[in-house]
């Protein structure tokens, strides 16, 4: 599988927000460059507050 060079984007299944590591998440004070897997456990969706387990890989 050459899916490994994907974007690393993750989508919130509750609201559709997409976490993009290259952008980070200013609403949660997450600076650009942090991979989804490296986000702290207490991180939640900046739009709807869904927890990390409610995120799906995009590709």
């Amino acid at each position: 599988m050459d899916q490994e060079n994907g974007t690393g984007w993750y989508i919130c299944v509750n609201c559709g927000y997409v976490y993009k590591p290259e952008k980070g998440d200013a609403m949660n004070n997450i600076s650009p460059g942090v991979a989804f897997e490296e986000l702290p456990d207490e991180w939640v969706c900046p739009m709807c507050y869904a927890t990390k387990d409610l995120f799906d890989p995009m590709d």
Partner: protein
């Protein structure tokens, strides 16, 4: 004159010169998936076509069966009988066990039909009624050899029941012997069940006895059961040979797929012999049983099969298990029919169905199957249990764990609770679902009355979490000493552990989804259920996202709305906002089509192959059935902020809106985005939008009909469609206020709030309290659109949403 039946166009002799009379079986909801789906799609024309096709393939009579849980059989069957009466040259066979339905069809059918069927199960009550109708309208009747003790297995039993039916039908109701077609019942010789090894012999002997002992009476057989469980190709040959043997024994008519009957001449001698060995259980001195020889013999031709035949080597139990796991309803009744020969219904439930559902739960837990498929499995479970129930003693199922379910007072959200109901009840538990908006007192009363083993409380709203918390001591004080399971979007393990657990005498358990509820009930049974705990040291508290900047600009311009006051909009073309449906949230979130362990390609295939077509179908059907009736009340109002209160002026009156403030930095409150009186005041937009109550009615109907999968799909769609309408209208209002700038208007941008301003939905994180609905309803007056408030400020119909529209450029979502 020879015994005949007739349509408007022709008479057909029941005893064909070259027997048997072929009765086409495909226009049957229980026997044909295709026909069932057409009927479920209300496509009567296509259903008629199924009937017509059989005519061209050689059927003499067409069987029509529309019985299906949740459908109006009377309407479906009379509609189709009427259509067939016009278009079919063949007479019809009215296939129903409901006397009202049979009578209604006889009344409108312009020829002489056959009724399928009656039996002696209830001692003759229904039989008598149907025979009287047959006499009155002139119809032939199929009579199954089923007595009060069940289905007749031996030839003698078959004859005895036939005699009993004859006594009532002929001697009491005045039918003529040749008005009766006895069906001596066929059981499979393909299951490997030793008790059924002579099933074909008994059936054939039954036919012989009926013809001999009840002269003038006719016989009929549902043929294909004989080969149930065998590969399709071999079935076709075995069915054809069996038909030939049955005709030799005196069979007059057969219910068959006319297209699939092979003339005996086309079957080789060797093939015939292997079939006959199986049918007549001929060992020929060989060690191997005839069934094994049959399977081996036909192994090679099994390859070019028309349908999946993985069922070939499975036992009936395994097939049943697979039906549940795969959510496949096809041929379910046949399978249960066969299983009931060997097992008591309760054993089928406890030893096959429940373990199958448990397996489904495990697969879901491991992320190997998705929620929509779980619901399809639950539908198979429910259908099976429904089919088995009439054969069970009342007290047989009484010893199971029972759970009371309710959505708490002030909350009208149904879906979460209903999913728990579906999962628990289809795992064999006794569930008492007492509805939505139920006061604690009522729950206590019901829990006492029903003597339940646990209570499950549900609620979506933030306020519902508070209601749950406050009710815990009430349960304790009332002496309700059973565990309480809590579920709902606003709950967290921490909240349950710290605010609910301490106030009840028994374990209080947080259940994030329906399967967690199932797990809790199992633990309760095993005696291992414990209250939810929360270790604040180990799991840090969730982040509170939001703009961290604590200064809100004060010098932003106040837009000029095109009007002040409220307006109603009662017609919006759904096409305008359906493009804004958040399909990602719908597919993955509400519908549960998450990627899970699938590869990107597999997931893409699921989305394009299954989910998107389903979405298009639901949109199309919703539009066709006018389920989406958008109505809006909205307006712009002068206002000013003072602390946490926004004073809104409408119709010459002042309405205070009290909003909460964040308890931690940056201590945001919605009022911060509005100018004070001293700053010159401001403008606030408000709206209430609904897609109407038809959607609620439709989803309630699906749930009541145990159409779990369709229920979840349509409900999820309705919620997202409502939000799309809100999103659309928010756009209209930004436009009217002249703050829309160069928005892209696509849904991805909407998710990110890629526009100026924000809409804060009431009941959502920035304003969880619904009490602001009171002033809002006072001046937007949505009652005129059929929208009302519950005593706890929730809007009805469910597919309604409200918001304050804030124009301030810094306004973004936050949570208090």
């Amino acid at each position: 004159m020879k015994p005949s039946v007739s349509s408007l166009y022709r008479a057909v002799e029941l005893q064909q010169e070259i027997p048997p009379l072929l009765i086409g079986e495909r226009a049957n909801t229980n026997g044909s998936k295709k026909f069932r789906e057409l009927l479920l799609a209300d496509d009567y024309d296509a259903c008629l076509k199924v009937a017509l096709e059989q005519e061209t393939k050689g059927a003499h009579v067409i069987d029509l069966c529309t019985a299906y849980a949740g459908r109006d059989e009377l309407k479906d069957l009379t509609t189709l009988v009427r259509m067939c009466a016009q278009s079919l040259k063949c007479p019809v066979m009215i296939d129903s066990t409901t006397p009202d339905c049979i009578e209604a069809c006889l009344k409108i059918y312009p020829g002489r039909a056959i009724i399928n069927s009656v039996n002696l199960e209830d001692g003759g009550k229904t039989l008598k009624r149907v025979c009287q109708a047959a006499k009155k309208y002139g119809a032939a009747v199929v009579a199954l050899t089923i007595g009060e003790k069940g289905m007749a297995m031996t030839a003698d039993e078959k004859l005895n029941i036939a005699k009993g039916i004859y006594q009532i039908a002929v001697n009491q109701c005045g039918l003529r012997p040749h008005d009766l077609l006895f069906d001596c019942l066929t059981f499979t010789v393909g299951s490997g069940d030793e008790k059924l090894e002579d099933a074909a012999i008994q059936t054939l002997e039954g036919i012989r006895l009926v013809k001999k002992e009840l002269p003038g009476c006719l016989t009929v057989l549902g043929l294909s059961n004989i080969s149930f469980g065998l590969p399709p190709k071999a079935r076709r040959i075995l069915n054809s040979v069996f038909l030939h043997e049955a005709v030799q024994a005196g069979l007059d008519a057969a219910i068959v797929d006319a297209a699939k009957i092979l003339p005996l001449a086309k079957i080789s001698d060797d093939d015939r012999e292997v079939c006959r060995d199986l049918l007549f259980d001929r060992r020929n001195g060989q060690e191997q049983k005839p069934l094994m020889r049959f399977i081996e013999y036909f192994q090679d031709i099994g390859e070019e099969t028309e349908q999946k035949d993985s069922e070939g080597n499975k036992t009936t139990e395994e097939q049943m298990f697979a039906k549940v796991v795969e959510g496949d309803k096809d041929g379910l009744e046949d399978l249960l029919f066969i299983l009931m020969e060997r097992f008591k219904p309760i054993a089928i439930i406890n030893q096959i169905l429940v373990p199958a559902m448990r397996h489904v739960g495990e697969l879901f837990g491991r992320g190997e199957i998705l929620l929509p498929f779980v619901l399809q499995s639950a539908e198979v479970m429910k259908l099976s249990v429904k089919a088995l129930e009439p054969h069970m003693d009342k007290n047989e199922a009484g010893s199971t764990t029972s759970i009371l379910l309710a959505t708490v007072q002030g909350d009208v959200h149904d879906i979460g609770k209903n999913l728990v109901d579906i999962i628990l009840s289809n795992n064999g538990y006794e569930v008492h679902n007492i509805g939505i908006n139920v006061p604690t007192e009522m729950i206590i009363e019901k829990a006492r009355e029903l003597n339940v083993d646990a209570i499950g409380l549900s609620g979506l709203l933030v306020k519902s979490a508070i209601v749950m918390q406050d009710s815990m001591s009430q349960y304790r004080n009332a002496g309700i000493n059973v565990p309480i399971l809590l579920g709902g979007a606003a709950l967290t393990p921490r909240f349950v552990a710290e605010n609910c657990v301490p106030h009840h005498s028994e374990p209080v358990v947080y259940c994030p989804d329906a399967f967690a509820g199932l797990k809790a009930v199992r633990e309760l049974e095993e005696g291992t259920l414990t209250a939810t705990t929360f270790n604040s040291g180990r799991v840090p508290e969730q982040m509170k996202p939001g703009v961290k900047d604590s200064t809100v600009l004060r010098n932003n311009p106040v837009p000029k709305p095109p009007f002040l006051g409220k307006k109603y909009v009662e017609h919006v073309d759904p096409e305008k906002f359906l493009s804004l449906v958040n399909t990602q949230a719908l597919f993955r979130g509400r519908w549960g089509y998450r990627r899970g362990k699938m590869t990107a390609n597999e997931y893409q295939e699921l989305i394009t192959g299954t989910v998107e077509p389903l979405y298009e179908k639901i949109v199309r059907e919703s539009l066709e059935k006018n389920l989406i009736c958008p109505k809006i009340t909205y307006g712009y109002f002068p206002c000013y902020a003072e602390g946490e209160t926004l004073y809104v002026e409408a119709d010459g009156q002042q309405y205070p809106f009290a909003f909460p403030r964040q308890s931690e930095a940056p201590h945001r409150c919605i009022t911060d985005y509005f100018k004070t009186k001293e700053e010159g005041g401001d403008i606030a937009g408000f709206f209430v939008v609904t897609i109407g109550e038809k959607m609620s009615e439709e989803t309630a109907m699906l749930y009541a009909a145990d159409a779990y999968h369709d229920y979840l799909m349509l409900h999820g769609f309705s919620v997202e469609a409502t939000d799309a309408l809100a999103e659309y209208w928010h756009g209209v209002m930004r436009n009217e206020m002249g703050i829309s700038g160069d928005e892209t208007g696509d849904i991805a941008a909407a998710v990110r709030q890629g526009y100026q301003g924000s809409r804060y939905g009431f009941g959502y994180p920035a304003c969880p309290d619904l009490d602001v609905h009171q002033p809002l309803f006072a001046f937007l007056q949505p009652e005129r659109l059929g929208i009302s408030l519950t005593e706890n400020m929730q809007m009805v119909p469910e597919q309604t949403t409200s918001a304050i529209v804030v124009h301030h450029p810094q306004a973004k979502y936050f949570a208090v």
